[in-house]
């Protein structure tokens, strides 16, 4: 097993955000807080463990972290410069 085998993409975090936010966010544009690359959330590199980590597909900076528990979710966007909302 290599780490590459565990890599998903931002499509995989659509469900948890849909549940807690109420709309689909995978097509929204995000800007990386490290390198400034921008693209749809679906293009993130996503790794799932006890929580979810989404990294910039250009520079691997952690842009989003999600932890779920007891019907709630905590979202850390400290590595994201901006997130488009529609």
């Amino acid at each position: 097993m290599e780490i590459l085998d565990l890599k998903l993409d931002g499509n995989a975090i659509g469900g948890v955000l849909l549940e807690h936010v109420g709309s689909d966010m995978t097509a929204l544009e995000m800007v990386c807080g490290n390198c400034g690359a921008h693209g749809e959330m679906a293009r993130l590199d996503v790794y799932r463990g006890a929580g979810i980590v989404g990294r910039c597909c250009q520079c691997e900076n952690v842009m989003i972290r999600i932890v779920e528990g007891r019907g709630r979710a905590w979202i850390d966007l400290s590595g994201t410069a901006s997130l488009e909302l529609r």
Binding site: M1, L4, D5, L6, K7, L8, D9, G10, N11, A12, G14, G15, L18, E19, H20, G22, S23, D24, M25, T26, A27, L28, E40, M41, A42, R43, R48, R70, G71, R72
Partner: protein, 244 residues
Amino acid sequence: MAETAVLGRITWLTASVAGDVRETPRVRTLDLDVPSWAGHRAGQHLDVRLTAEDGYQAERSYSIASAPGNGVQLTIERLDDGEVSPYLVDDAREGDQFEVRGPIGGYFVWDGDEPGPVLLIAGGSGVVPLMAIARHRARIGSTTPMKLLYSSRTWDDVIYRGELEKLGIDVVHTLTRAQPPDWTGYSRRIDVDMLREVAWPASESPRVYVCGSTRFVDAAADGLLELGYEANWIRTERFGATGS
């Protein structure tokens, strides 16, 4: 917590198995009855949640195989060490119930209202959301040129083999592990030379959908970029090698 639920919050819905089709020895399609399903777009997926008697829950994402407006069908490949797929492929019976959440995805979707040719590139069960796109094209009577390049291990692993021939799109197979005796098609992994022969010329600004393992998707996308495709023409969806 129900009493503090936010308006518009999407909750888990109960799905019942209403029918099934065995596609290959490892792959099965489940027809789901999901009351109050909001409808979906071609290419979207949903999450499935199974709850064991002791309360343990396992959650996985699966692409929707059916065209919009044509029910909710999932096509699932069994991963032998998976927590969810062995149940869905081998054990789930008509009337069984589990929870689903969705539809999900606003990026890897094709609504049929864009001009220009479409190239679909599938690795194994990555064909499932692409099948929803091809079925949607047929269902709405679209004349958009569409081509599917589909990589499978063997001929027996090809999902939707019969239906693929009747969709009115060009289908090009490559069989990477073993080929029938009279096979004249490709017999290797997707590479730049194959893409050069199959893909629409970059001058036509095609829209591309690639779905498969991370390795597969990276190889296909890199090859297309080498052929002069622009990154924003290429939409990708990757699935991990484990955990389904």
